[in-house]
Every structure is written in structure tokens, then in C-alpha cells.
Amino acid sequence: MYRRLRLCSNHGAYEAIPEPANPLDLRKVRSVLEREGIAVVDARVMLLAAMETEVTLSRNGRLLFKTRDPDIAERTFERLRSLLGLPAAEEPPRATSGMRSR
């Protein structure tokens, strides 16, 4: 399962971190994304994918969405999830419904 999307430490992007670890096979990921017409830069230890917002996909499964808009991050995450068969993100806690946990 992925932890709820949250702003990274410098508040410049949203990140999704798998718990427990969910390593990605970047070769397979690249091939799936390119088949969908998504431009991918392969930096060996990570991929940079040009989706609705640019996404960094790390070997350890961490995803970073270069946007400060939570809706865009969420949509992009869901698209990646369906393309790559990734686990779901945890539901937001009831008390903070409608807000992103930090």
C-alpha cells in the first residue's frame, strides 16, 4: 500500500511512498509507459515520465509528482496505478477528510 500523497519536505512536490517497500522494475515500467505514448527519460536509477505533471519513479517505488496541486498529483498517481498495477494509497483519515496529510 502507498502512504497517502503528501507534500515533500521543501513543499515543492507531492510524493507517494510505498509501505512496505514495493521495488519497481524500471525496465518494465519504462516499456509500459512508452507503450502508452508517455515520454520517459531513463536515468538508470530512476525514470522521469512526462505525464499530466512530471513524475520521478525511483527503484524503491517512491513516486514524486512535480506539482503543488494535490488534485493533479492524485490524478497522475491513479493513472500510474492503473497502468502499472501499483498498490492503492491509504484512505485519508476521516478527521482530515478533504485535506492532505502532511
Binding site: A13, A43, L48
Partner: protein, 208 residues
């Protein structure tokens, strides 16, 4: 007074270092290594705002070279040991800055580095990074601690710009080397065409 080339990242330290150099009457040419796609637009925007503020405060022109560094990072990530990625990256930055210094007739390089603040700022890493250049390197903040630098940044008005939201460098390895070995660094660089890469990125630099 002398003319120097200053590496600017958009962080808290480099505008403070420039402030001290300008206050002394040195002429400064700024260089920003553009790390996109491993970061976002925020570092460049911060550097431009820092320079506007410093130009106004010191009434001096400060040309800015924007040097593409993302392609270099990709080559480093594909071909070299990630563990020493930060040191290799710094060596490219220094050599690019030195090339620009030659073009600008500058006689020194400068940086906002202070000891021990981040992984790449240990003495052994600084040595490994800087033996790649011949020009003297000026570090006006080397003995400052974080609080002292922040206090000056607040006083001159650059702190608020530096601390705006932004994306950290995504190319930083999970466990960067803190004690680098120059022999290993040179061996890693044998895997890539260093001179060609530096020529390419400096040729593609734009002056803003």
C-alpha cells in the same frame, strides 16, 4: 578589484556570499547550473529574484549564466557509481564555472559553501571536487554556522526568497559518500567524456 564567478543554487548561502563579495567591491558573474528535470523551475526563479535584489542593493550589474546541467546528471547516473554522485556533480559545476570565468576574464571562483552543512560539504569531498579546477576558490562563508548565515540573509532580504517552496535535487543518492577518494573519482570519470560534456553544457549556456 577582481572579477569572480559565483555558483548560485537558489539556496540561502550563495546570495549571502555574493553580498559580502559585492560589499568588498568585487565584480561578480553568477552561474546557475540548471538541474531540471531533477528539480523544478523554483531554483532558477529564486536565483533570478536573488540577483534582482542584490543588483538593486549594491547598484551593480550581475550577469547570470544559465548552464544546462540535467543532461550531465543523466549521463552520470547512467554511467557512474551513484555513491559518489554528489562529488562528480560538483566537479562538473566547478569546471563549467571555470570555463565561464575564462570567457569572462574572471580571476577567481566563489561559492556559498560552509563546512559540514550537507553531505557533499566535507573537507575530503571539497578537495575531490575542487582539484578539478585551477582558479582560486573564494568561500566567504566557510566558517559561518547556519544561524549566522540565516541572520544575514534575513537582513539583506534574500531569506524569504530562498525558503519559498521548491523541489530538492532528485539526483542526490540515498547514501552520498561523505569521504570521497580521489582515485575512485578519477576512475569513475574515465567512464565518460568529461571534456566533451563540459564543452557542450557551457556552449549551450544562456546569459540572462
Amino acid at each position: 578589484m577582481a572579477r569572480g564567478v559565483m555558483l548560485m543554487s537558489g539556496g540561502i548561502d550563495s546570495p549571502v556570499a555574493i553580498h559580502y563579495l559585492l560589499r568588498q567591491g568585487q565584480e561578480i558573474v553568477a552561474v546557475h547550473m540548471d538541474n531540471r528535470p531533477f528539480t523544478d523551475d523554483s531554483p532558477l526563479s529564486k536565483v533570478m529574484d536573488h540577483l534582482d535584489l542584490l543588483r538593486e542593493r549594491h547598484q551593480q550589474p550581475i550577469p547570470l549564466y544559465l548552464v544546462p546541467h540535467g543532461p550531465t546528471q543523466i549521463t552520470l547516473m547512467r554511467n557512474t557509481d551513484r555513491h559518489v554522485g554528489c562529488v562528480l556533480c560538483r566537479r562538473f559545476m566547478w569546471r563549467s564555472a571555470e570555463k565561464i570565468a575564462e570567457r569572462e576574464g574572471a580571476t577567481f571562483l566563489a561559492t556559498g559553501e560552509a563546512l559540514g552543512q550537507v553531505a557533499s560539504q566535507t573537507l575530503s569531498n571539497m578537495r575531490s571536487a575542487t582539484v578539478s579546477v585551477k582558479l582560486p576558490i573564494v568561500r566567504p562563508l566557510i566558517g559561518f554556522d547556519k544561524q549566522e548565515i540565516e541572520a544575514v540573509a534575513k537582513e539583506i532580504g534574500t531569506y524569504e526568497i530562498s525558503t519559498r517552496p521548491g523541489l530538492c535535487c532528485q539526483a542526490v543518492p540515498d547514501k552520498p559518500a561523505t569521504r570521497s577518494n580521489l582515485v575512485q573519482i578519477l576512475r569513475e570519470e574515465e567512464r565518460i567524456d568529461v571534456d566533451q560534456m563540459i564543452d557542450d553544457c557551457v556552449r549551450k549556456a544562456v546569459i540572462l
